[in-house]
Amino acid sequence: MTTSASRQFVSLLLQRVLLGGIVVALWWWGATRVPSFVLPGPEKVGKALLTLWQSDTFVADVSATCRRVLAGFVLATIVGTGLGLVLGASRVLARFFEPVLTVFNTVSSAIWAIFAIIWFGISDATTIFVVFMTAMPLILTNVWEGTKTVDAHYVDLARSFRMSRVHVLRKIYVPTIMPHFFAGARLAFGFGWRVSLVAETIGSSSGIGYRLRQAADLVQTDQVFAWTVLLVGLMLLLEGGLLKPSERWLFRWKPSARQPSTSSVSSSVSSSVSASVSVQA
């Protein structure tokens, strides 16, 4: 690393620490002025976090939520990519099914959650279904858009080497669609993660969402905050530890390593309710 780059890194790190400090200071100051069931202070939330960490159900709850989100997301990826490719390949089908997609994108996740309760009851399927219905249209739309950007020049190039359709799909279509897919998948994962909590609050007897509602019902505001802090931490870890690096590696061929906006995944749990209303991407 060059000196200017490392200096830049240190500067960025200092800015992040400063930002974190300001937030905690404001939080602490605010907590001293209102009752703790409205806004518990940092040390109270820290204690709650520790109790949470040591509780028997903690690992089970976190892994249950992760499992449901992942299952819904993987299903959405498979179905969304497949349908996106089909719609991209056929203009006739695309024109026919376009309204369906609009409907999917307009229906709120909260409505899907209510349907899921009616159809699946209190079970894993409820959350998985809601995540799927939220994430799938996003991935579908992006993959479909991606197929539209495939350069006919490159397809002709592959044809000039007498490549088969499968080769053209693998070597021209997939790499072209990849950035679009990634953008869609990232958005879908973020939304899916948030709506999973909404689904869990009403349609589950375990998981982070369920615990959140439980804590809220018992006015254990410090626990609600503890879960929130935990979720934010988890998202930041996912963003910085998995998404950013894999994106940097996947798209290392791009001229200027311009990254898409990062706000899609790392947003707090408090926005989950509003997110479910504004799923339109």
């Binding site: 190039l157 080497f161 007498r162 070597k171 021209i172 990849m178 061929w253």
Partner: protein, 247 residues
């Protein structure tokens, strides 16, 4: 058409809608020659090249590769096609771009990489194998595209105005490069150009097409013109002038 010609077209007709683009074209490409197709825009020279490549079917007439009718030709990969644009895939390194055409063959990955490196060596870019296309200049990109076409070791190289987007100096370099490689492996080259100077510098024969409908106007033999041909040399300049006057 005699079977001695490596690529022959007989009575080729191509229509796009009501317009007849090519009308009864006869062409015989000799083994190891460099043949230029020139003519005004709209004379169907690119269409003719596409038909010669086997990628575009003519409405009438016959195409034969080494005397074998097009319908029975098994190995079209002996014919390589170089486009007007370099068409390097931005998500592949230079080496992987060169190896691209080989991926339709049975070669192992190691063999493909080795072949790609050999080709990069041939066009003088062996040090840039790991670079991304966007990091290269226009001339380098053109070399990579040439290396990609050569990697499949074609007997026939078809080129559609391949150097037209390069600046004059780089274009001259690419001409020398192409002639050097062609002299080395003796492949047959057929190229389309609107640049008479390029045609005279490169070609053994020039086929001039006339437009509306596209047809062969005349064939100019340049075998006797000494190589290397410098555009500024009087004999070359004279030949270019004659060709331009005829157009």
């Amino acid at each position: 058409m005699s079977t001695a010609s490596v690529l022959s077209a007989h009575g080729i007709v191509k229509r796009f809608g009501a317009a007849t683009v090519l009308d009864n074209i006869d062409i015989a490409v000799r083994r190891g020659e460099v043949l230029a197709l020139v003519g005004p825009s709209g004379c169907g020279k690119s269409t003719l090249l596409n038909i010669l490549s086997g990628l575009l079917a003519p409405d009438d007439g016959e195409l034969a590769v080494e005397g074998v009718p097009a319908a029975q030709v098994r190995d079209w990969r002996r014919i390589a096609y170089m486009f007007q644009e370099d068409r390097l895939l931005p998500w592949r390194t230079v080496r992987d771009n060169v190896a691209f055409g080989l991926e339709a063959s049975q070669l192992s990955r190691a063999d493909r990489q080795r072949r790609a490196d050999d080709m990069l060596e041939l066009v003088g870019l062996h040090a840039r194998g790991d670079a991304w296309p966007h990091e290269l200049s226009g001339g380098m990109r053109s070399r990579v595209a040439l290396a990609r076409s050569l990697a499949t070791q074609p007997d026939i190289l078809l080129m559609d105005e391949p150097f037209s987007k390069l600046d004059p100096q780089t274009r001259t370099q690419m001409h020398e490069e192409l002639l050097r490689i062609q002299a080395g492996n003796g492949m047959t080259v057929v190229f389309v150009t609107h640049d008479m100077e390029e045609a005279v510098v490169l070609a053994d024969r020039v086929i001039r097409l006339a437009a509306r409908p596209g047809r062969v106007a005349d064939v100019v033999n340049l075998h006797t013109l000494a190589r290397p041909r410098v555009p500024t040399a009087p004999v070359v300049a004279e030949q270019v002038r004659v060709l331009r006057a005829a157009a």
